[in-house]
């Protein structure tokens, strides 16, 4: 007997996985951010607050620590989900877990991205409600719109990294892992080039597109599938229901 179909559809995992993944994943990200900010806070207070170069260096250090901690927590979450997956597989009737690891990877990456995006942008959104824009002290007046695009790139990136990361951990391809962490560090570093938006946003979007393509292929897609999908769509439009 097949287990009763869990409520769910392709783009959001079945309910159980969702309950496991989304808010808890977000919580894991929050914990990693909290730890990173604690480290940065302590280091700032232990150092000389007047020295601006040192403070800038500490900020870079803090950002790097935050990136590494996020990846560590992503790995920890992967381990947790693996255990949960095995547990579910054990108690299910046909020995297979109802949730696919790929779906879990996608949802975890997405929730990670959403919470990270929310935290990046909510502060800016709250201040954009007022009548003024950034710029009276000489900053770029395109601050709000570039922050929005950056946040969008970040959400996509986390989703794609989630998919690639889980797959790499599953297949023990550690060079993939290293590449994900490295690209995360590079993205974080590129944001330090703001407000020189040409030098920061464009490379970040290039990285996003590359990661997207890589995640697509990791998740099982292929160029042939895309063509098949488009031709299906052209010939039999009812299938999309």
């Amino acid at each position: 007997k097949k287990p009763p179909p869990a409520p769910g559809c392709g783009f959001a995992a079945p309910g159980a996985a969702l309950v496991l993944s989304f808010p808890h994943r977000a919580f894991f990200w929050l914990v990693s951010l909290l730890l990173a900010s604690l480290i940065w806070f302590v280091s700032v207070h232990l150092s000389d607050q007047e020295d601006s170069k040192l403070q800038y260096g500490l900020l870079v250090f803090g950002a790097a620590v935050s990136v590494l901690l996020q990846e560590v927590f992503r790995f920890a979450y992967f381990k947790l989900l693996k255990k949960a997956d095995e547990g579910l597989a054990m108690i299910s009737e046909d020995g297979r877990s109802p949730i696919s690891l790929k779906q879990m990877a996608y949802v975890s990456g997405l929730s990670f991205g959403i919470i990270s995006g929310v935290f990046s942008v909510i502060n800016i959104l709250a201040d954009s409600i007022g009548p003024g824009i950034v710029g009276i002290h000489g900053d770029s007046p395109y601050y709000f719109i570039t922050s929005a695009f950056l946040t969008m790139a970040l959400v996509f990136l986390h989703t794609f990294w989630g998919v690639i990361f889980f797959d790499a951990c599953e297949k023990r391809r550690y060079w993939c892992l290293g590449l994900v962490v490295a690209s995360h560090l590079v993205t974080s570093g590129l944001t330090f080039l703001n407000p020189w938006y040409e030098a920061s946003l464009v490379p970040i979007y290039i990285i996003t597109v590359c990661m997207g393509v890589w995640a697509f292929f990791t998740a099982g897609g292929s160029f042939r599938n895309v063509l098949k999908c488009l031709s299906c769509k052209a010939s039999r439009p009812q299938r999309s229901r």
């Binding site: 409520p7 769910g8 808010p23 959403i114 824009i133 950034v134 710029g135 719109i145 098949k228």
Partner: protein
């Protein structure tokens, strides 16, 4: 293959079955997280993004709304502040840009102090292209004079009316304040702020230069520098309306929202020979009242330096009180002297009308019968050739007995000035009394009295009731480079007068004032002294006049703190005759502690609230009905604004991306089984 097919099929069934309700847990979690984050971010004020956007203006004074029985005066802003593109107006031609040419109305004007006059203000009042005004104080003061007060101050509330001296009523014979423009008594529907700090004015002008200056006649380009002013007032129309609304709220609501407060404070009075304050004085005992006012006003809230209009007179009065108390045989004097300092006189004689009312209704130890004569000091600092003019009321002098008494009084006064540094001269019959507290006493009873001023006809003070009535106006100058202590002790003529002038005009928080006040109210002494009557009492000025008078005219008694604060429990204190105050004493130069002591004096406070509020006659034309509106927040800030086009483009792009992403997600989801066909062997799919 079959397994793949069935798995794919089950997925399709799941996809079909679940699309209705699966998104709910996802969206709920997302919504919760979003709400939490929003709350967290919204409660975080002063964060770095806000600091990138806004520059707050801290040293400003607003123009607030005041109401009387029939009108509202002052300024009002919208509830969420008024925003406008900044335009600096330094000469009259700049106004054309604001009124007609400028392409980005409404404008927020930064007006030079010299252009803050009636003509310009009425032009701005009539247009909708102005959303607010910030006035930069003019340094030095405008040489032609500036007075936002009326040409005929307190005209309907004095003694002259159509029934009494109609040829003198409403300044028919003498215009007392010819420079007066009446600006304070106009009603503006946009906010007006005063920029007190020249550095902030410079920041605003710099922002204007960088972003708003028109190039070659065409408009400047976005982003533009803008300013937002918040000064929303709760009261409208008149005192009648706002008091009615407040009383309804207070009666029926659990959480009353009072919208206005009457202007009130305390009068300070003291007698030379002690009198029983709880009883009534015999009608045979005669008292001479010496009176001055202690408050002033200007166009802006709580900016009222009042150097010539108030401080000069009451400091002279305090010095005279001190000198008289030092005379050894005061107790042998036939008549008592009452030194009275009236508060709220600027607003249709609040203090003096209340005292007359209390005297008539027997709520004051003295009655009108006890008053033998009245001497008032009004604006005495700007004397020409050291002449002080004596004004009397010509109408009451038509009565023979009053005429004799007044002539007697004038003679005594001019004789006493012979050989002194100041000569007193009479003004004559053709002139009425200037606006003074004596007029309220005359309304009740014909008392012989005289008002001493430095002006013969109209005021010498060209800055009457304005922000420019500063120490410079009365030619008070200190040499550069003195420390606050040295400036306090800088003696020009007599030590005490200089110290008082310094304390009431330059810096209230000085060591002498600190040593004569109560120990627990040290914090009230702010920086630059302002003498506005306000609505919470007592204000600094009243409090300090009380304690200075107690110090100058009282005696130090040997009582402990307990005995001093509770004189009714201590024998031989004569609680009804005297007031006891525990003051904190001066600071030893070597230690950090003070030596407090007890002062016994005859200085008392009497409530200065207009009788109209006691009688609940809010539309009264007999008594002052001035109230001040309440407000929630008053602040100002500058920032850059973007063009409407950029805002709309941002919004449209955002919505387009949202719709596109939703569509893309939907289609990918629908085609997920085709796009992400999972091969049976996981290894084979690796790339």
């Amino acid at each position: 293959m079959a397994v793949v097919g069935s798995t794919g099929g089950s997925r399709r069934v799941e996809a079909a079955a679940g699309s209705r309700w699966a998104p709910l847990p996802a969206w709920r979690g997302l919504l919760r997280a979003l709400l939490f984050a929003l709350l967290a971010a919204g409660s975080c004020q002063g964060n770095s993004v806000e600091r990138k956007i806004y520059i707050p203006l801290n040293k400003t004074a607003p123009c607030v709304r005041l109401l009387n029985a029939t009108h509202q005066i002052g300024c009002q802003s919208s509830i969420n502040g008024d925003t406008g593109v900044i335009h600096v107006v330094e000469k009259e031609e700049d106004l054309n840009w604001v009124l007609a040419d400028g392409p980005h109305p409404p404008y927020m004007i930064l007006l030079d102090g010299n252009l803050f006059n009636r003509r310009v203000m009425l032009q701005l009042k009539g247009t909708s292209r102005v959303s607010g005004l910030a006035v930069a104080i003019a340094k030095p003061s405008p040489p032609q004079g500036f007075s936002p007060g009326l040409k005929c101050p307190n005209s309907g509330f004095g003694v002259y009316s159509k029934d009494y001296g109609p040829q003198f009523a409403h300044c028919n014979s003498t215009v007392w304040n010819p420079v007066g423009s009446g600006l304070s008594y106009e009603d503006f529907d946009f906010p007006i702020f005063l920029l007190e700090d020249a550095n902030e004015t410079q920041v605003i002008k710099q922002c204007y230069q960088d972003h708003n200056v028109p190039h070659d006649g065409s408009g400047p380009e976005y982003p533009l520098c803008a300013m937002q002013l918040f000064s929303h007032m709760h009261a409208v129309t008149s005192t009648v309306t706002c008091m009615r609304r407040s009383s309804i709220q207070s009666t029926f609501s659990l959480n009353p929202e009072v919208v206005c407060d009457p202007l009130l404070d305390y009068n300070v009075w003291s007698t030379l020979q002690p009198i029983n304050s709880s009883g009534k004085v015999d009608p045979e005992k005669e008292v001479i009242i010496v009176a001055t006012r202690i408050d002033s006003h200007s166009f802006f809230w709580n900016v009222a330096p009042g150097a010539e209009s108030a401080v000069s007179s009451f400091v002279t009065h305090l010095a005279a009180a001190e000198a008289l108390h030092k005379v050894s045989d005061v107790h042998l004097l036939q008549r008592n002297i009452m030194f009275t300092f009236f508060q709220g006189e600027t607003f249709d004689y609040i203090g003096s009308s209340r005292m007359v009312y209390d005297m008539e209704k027997d709520k004051f130890p003295l009655r009108l019968d006890n008053i033998h004569s009245f001497v008032e000091l009004n604006q005495v600092a700007l004397r020409n050739d050291s002449v002080l003019w004596m004004h009397t009321d010509p109408v009451s002098r038509r009565n023979e007995s009053i005429q004799t008494q007044v002539k007697n009084l004038l003679e005594i006064l001019s004789n006493s000035s012979v050989g002194g540094k100041v000569t007193l001269q009479e003004v004559g019959f053709s002139q009425p009394l200037p606006p003074s507290s004596f007029q309220r006493f005359l309304r009740a009873r014909h008392i012989p009295g005289v008002v001493l001023t430095d002006h013969r006809t109209s005021f010498q003070n060209r800055y009457y009731q304005s922000m420019y009535d500063t120490p410079e106006n009365i030619r008070m100058e200190y040499p550069e480079g003195l420390s606050p202590e040295e400036t306090l002790e800088y003696v020009t003529n007599t030590a005490k007068v200089s110290r008082m002038l310094y304390g009431f005009l330059i810096k209230m928080n000085n060591s002498w004032f600190q040593s004569i006040i109560k120990p627990d109210i040290k914090v009230i002494l702010g920086d630059v002294p302002q003498h506005y009557v306000a609505v919470s009492s007592p204000v600094n000025t009243t409090y300090l006049v009380q304690y200075v008078l107690a110090n100058l005219t009282g005696t130090v008694v040997n009582l402990t703190k307990e005995e001093c604060l509770n004189p009714e429990k201590t024998p031989h204190t004569e609680k009804e005759m005297y007031e006891y105050a525990w003051v904190q004493g001066s600071l030893d130069p070597n230690s950090t502690t003070r030596v407090p002591y007890c002062v016994r004096s005859t200085v008392r406070l009497s409530k200065a609230l207009s009788p109209a509020f006691e009688l609940r006659e809010w539309g009264s034309t007999e008594y002052s009905t001035w109230t001040e509106s309440r407000w929630k927040e008053i602040r100002a800030r500058i920032f850059l604004v973007a063009s409407k086009e950029l805002e709309i483009i941002t919004l449209v792009v955002g919505i387009a991306i949202l719709i596109f992403s939703l569509l893309a997600t939907y289609f990918i989801n629908a085609k997920a089984d085709v796009l992400f066909s999972i091969p049976r062997d996981p290894g084979a799919a690796a790339y």
